[in-house]
Amino acid sequence: MIEKFKREWLTSPGTNIMAGIVVALALIPEAIAFSIIAGVDPMVGLYASFLIAVIISFVGGRPAMISAATGAVALLVVPLVREYGVEYLFAATILMGIIQIILGIFKVGKLLKFIPNSVMIGFVNALAIMIFIAQLQHIFGISFDTYIYVIITIAILYVLPRFFKKIPAPLVALVVLTSCYIFFGAEVRTVGDLGAIEKSLPSFIIPDVPYTLETLKIIFPYSLSMAIVGLVESLLTARIVDNATDTYSSKNKESRGQGIANFVTGFFGGMGGCAMIGQSVINVRSGATTRLSTFTAGVFLMLLIILFGDLVVQIPMPILAGIMVVVTISTFDWKTFKYMKKAPRTDVFVMLITVAIILATDNLAIGVIAGVFFSAIFFATKISKVTVTKELINNNYVFYFEGQIFFASIDTMIDQLEFKKYDKDILLDFSKAHLWDDSAVDAIDTMVRKFEDKGNTVYVDQLNADSRKIVKELSQLNEQHLT
């Protein structure tokens, strides 16, 4: 226990603290930008990022992973905030946490294995596209100066890392260009035009909503979507960090931890969040291995806001928009185009339908569920090919069955049989088949009865152990059939 604590908190503290600081600097523009996407004050995203990072550092399952306010969750809550206001967002965040804790207890982390890569690729691509689109309103049709700021920001973000990587380029862009704006002025909108910054720690609140069934009806669909999307992105990120560090982490503990973090965050005026792929990669690349890095990221972010909150409101929006454009470019999976040429057509279809449904519904959760649904159907179709071959031995028939026999495959199986046999011995050989469900057993009962109606004697042979077991339990066949 103490061993584990030491390993997860105290291994190379210097490197981990430095990594956490780098992440905190990169988190600030994102937390503000995501608040603006959601339509709330920047403080809502900043408080959320501080709280989620600090809480998850204690209760998360994946050391060195960064969780904070995220675009995926922000995009989901836009209609809720617009129609009902920010207090409902806090309530929805609390409920999101409760749902995630319950899912964590029921070990849903394991279920996420059933989300195929095609859906995951669709998820990250749709996420990137949506955040990109959300930036356009801060770039186009505002002023000439806006374009200049955006272009310089993007240029700094691409060129600077070629020369040195120690200081994150987004921070350099923020500091240099905000200084330019403060000294020289420009015709641009600033963070202050879109919301206020408070230089104080978050405090405990009870969301100011009527505690009625009506409210629950309003927030529940949002909370459920937030919970699902939060877990999908968190567990994807956990797998990426597992890969990058060559270690394994508990996905159920992570699900529960995400729930606890969101539950608490809602009570302190924060919006829901989850793990962040980009930030986690920055953290690990900076050498982070422990929970201390995540903890530092949260604390340092809050410290910066308390110290420099006055400057934050002066940040020109086009800098944030430029940073977010670059973030979306690195979020997008550029291997998609190669994937579309090489992957099986059904996988490509699932990926595209996931993206299309997300963009059509503005809801990442619906897209993921639809994507999983389609891939399940394709999978079922793919494995529901049963072949039946017939052989005539000594004037008696043997039917060989090959494949997975279950509800989706019984029709194709029965279609391949001819029942016009009379007064023969018929052997049904299942040595290369597997019976999966009661539909399969029903189908075999039906086949046997149809043959017997025409005076044949039927034997069912070579069932494997599992198949034999369900036949024994569910079938009307007798011992004589199963010799």
Binding site: N117, M120, I121, V124, V159, R162, F163, K165, L236, R239, I240, V241, N243, A244, T245, D246, I277, V281, V284, R285, D333, K335, Y339
Partner: protein, 134 residues
């Protein structure tokens, strides 16, 4: 003859040429350590596209391994995760190597100026001799 050589290999054509060049500086007592750096940025691709990173990296340097097997070179292979330039320097500082050998990326003048290649950075920061094979 060098006793211990650190060969930084990314699997490119140039790194293969560096591996070939190394044959000129070894005898039967020389140990060549083939270092392959796995970039952390690639982890997202690895997960999304179901690729096993270490396995893929092994395939990338298979050509070098084949060559060294054929030439009876004493070698071992290590995989490290991180930024290529930093990792090569770090590994060279942590072991008793006599020289670092790596391939030049062969960037054109503009790219060389803009980006500063891995070989350039390693040459600048390493504490032991560095051989860049063109």
């Amino acid at each position: 003859m060098y006793k211990s050589i650190l060969l930084a290999a990314d699997g490119s054509e140039n790194s293969f040429r560096a591996a070939e060049e190394t044959l000129n500086f070894i005898n039967k007592d020389t140990m060549v350590t083939i270092l392959n750096v796995i970039q952390i940025e690639k982890s997202k691709d690895a997960v999304l596209h179901g690729e096993n990173t270490v396995k893929q990296q092994k395939e990338k340097i298979a050509k070098i391994i084949d060559l060294y097997n054929k030439e009876n070179v004493n070698y071992n292979v290590i995989f490290e995760r991180g930024l290529p330039d930093e990792t090569v320097v770090k590994v060279s500082n942590n072991g008793a190597y006599n020289i670092i050998v790596l391939g030049n990326r062969g960037l054109n003048a503009l790219q060389g100026m803009m980006m500063g290649s891995v070989s350039h950075k390693v040459a600048k920061r390493a504490n032991i001799p560095v051989m860049i094979v063109k």
